[in-house]
């Protein structure tokens, strides 16, 4: 990866007793929220519609000013900063995408870098780099937003937010407007991207499965943004704090847990010397392996290093181990 993309690593965000009371409203929209968002992590805010997710997020880039409380980024109180200056250091992806329809894709992405005084050639190189990063062909730079599909526009929105290499990203239901298949694809691309860029990301969704997939940590919110539970996906699945959180997990909690566990993190048994066993690649999840077992009617599968029949066999996975994993024993962190 070129250096500019991974240039500025994430910074820690800290909210302390943050409250937002909209004028003329009896109840605060956000009440006394305190949370630490560790540098370089993806923290997902999940909760029902109207619980205050967007309000909480927009207070971080000061599109909404908190009524009380403090927010710091990298130790600096954001209220002491010039708001416009402050926002240039925060990538912001809004749910409605909000591309500038009268500007070409290259100018949508390059607008902020240009305003920051980057040279023409540097901006052009940055645009090319980001288009590649989000998986769009280079010649899309010359297109206008209306000439792109919804999913493609969404990727441009992410590229635009990354343009000036901000240490912090705020993403409000960034994949909300897409069909399940495109959404899954964008999520995977985004996770790959984040492994490279290591930004601090606040990600809003009301889809708990998306939260499980995307988050290093998840904050399950009640109305007024009150935190019901704030922990890793594994910990929330293993021990939901109360019925409210459990209701978010919904049915199939055990399967969801297995979907978080990659085969590479599971202790494998030596490969048996019998032929004809189903094979699965080590990047897959334990849930995928279980699915394969059920589909093939086999209680053991071979785990391989790569796709293909001649790929190296790393070991085998037994149904027993899967059941142990569900109970939280087989993990090998």
């Amino acid at each position: 990866m070129p250096e500019s993309i991974t240039g500025r690593p994430g910074e820690t965000i800290e909210l302390t007793d943050v409250t937002k009371r909209y004028p003329g409203q009896a109840e605060p929209a956000v009440e006394a929220v305190s949370m630490v968002i560790p540098a370089g992590e993806v923290v997902v805010l999940v909760g029902p519609s109207g619980c205050g997710k967007t309000t909480t997020m927009k207070m971080i880039n000061r599109l909404i000013e908190p009524t009380s409380g403090t927010i710091t980024i990298g130790g600096t109180d954001v209220l002491t900063l010039d708001p416009d200056q402050h926002r240039r250091d925060i990538g912001y992806v809004i749910q409605q995408i909000g591309l500038f329809p009268h500007k070409r894709i290259e100018d949508n992405i390059g607008l902020l870098p240009k305003r920051l005084g980057w040279s023409r050639s540097r901006v052009r190189a940055r645009v090319a780099e980001l288009l590649e990063l989000v998986g769009l062909p280079a010649d899309y730079a010359r297109r206008y937003p209306r000439e792109l599909s919804g999913g493609q526009q969404q990727r441009v929105g992410v590229a635009r937010a990354l343009a000036a290499d901000p240490p912090v990203m705020l993403m409000d239901e960034p994949f909300g407007a897409t069909d399940p298949i495109t959404r899954d694809h964008l999520q995977n691309e985004f996770l790959r991207l984040q492994r490279e860029v290591r930004k601090t990301i606040v990600f809003v969704t009301h889809d708990f499965d998306e939260a499980l997939k995307m988050g290093d940590r998840i904050a399950v919110l009640r109305p007024r943004s009150v935190i019901a539970q704030y922990d890793t996906p594994e910990a929330i699945l293993a021990a939901p704090a109360d019925d409210y959180v459990a209701s978010f997990i919904g049915a199939g909690g055990q399967l969801k847990k297995l979907a978080l566990l990659r085969l590479r993190d599971v202790e494998l048994a030596p490969a048996p010397r019998v032929g004809g066993l189903p094979r699965i690649v080590v990047d897959a999840t334990v849930r995928d392996a279980l699915d394969l077992m059920l589909g093939e009617g086999s209680d053991v599968v071979l785990v391989t290093g790569d796709f293909g029949d001649d790929a190296e066999v790393l070991g085998s996975l037994h149904l027993q181990t899967v059941m142990g994993a569900a109970a939280g024993k087989a993990g090998n962190p």
Binding site: N61, L63, P83, D84, Q85, H86, R87, R88, I90, Y92, I94, Q96, I97, G98, L99, F100, P101, H102, K103, R104, L111, L112, R115, Y144, P145, R146, G157, R160, A161, A164
Partner: protein
Amino acid sequence: MTFAEYVRENWITIVNDTILHFDVTLGAVAIAVVIGVGLGMLTYRHSTLAALATTTTGAFLTIPSVALLGVLIAPFGLGVLPVLVALVVYALLPITRNTIVGLQEVDPAVVEAGRGMGLSRTRVLWDLRLPLAWPVIFAGVRVSTQIIIGIAAIGAWVQGPGLGNQIFNGLGRFGGANSLNQVLTGTLGIVVLALLFDLALAGVARLTTSRGLRA
């Protein structure tokens, strides 16, 4: 003398009147764009101010042109100046109103994205709102032009320039030689000029609107 003969014999005067008519209309529209768009930009964010701007400029349009021109003689005398001022006054409503509506109706998501990346309010106005509202604003410019190109003819009453002179001369000695030809020349000239003007403005609209906004 037939109409064709009249035109052939007097074409220098007619062309001259047409050019002057065009000039005073263009000048008035240009000034009205500066004032109207400016007024729109200053008021679109405050609903009461915006309403005030549209009702005021709307009220202007109801003043009878003869009355307005008569009143303007006192400060501006006779000739082109009172005509220009009157035309600007009449051109304001469509431009001002369309500017306000255009600026207000810009997709809020676009504005939020702009503010979110750290663009100031002023930058959002100039870089995002104005170019996005431009097709709407320009539609107002075209309506204004059509309105005042006809009104400009009345300007001859205060010795203003343009095709109105043909009409007023003809009407002044109606029944006399060529009086009908004069009225006809002035009227048709204005209709043709209005058509060509609008065609030209349609071209300008195309050239000044981003390709990303065209359907």
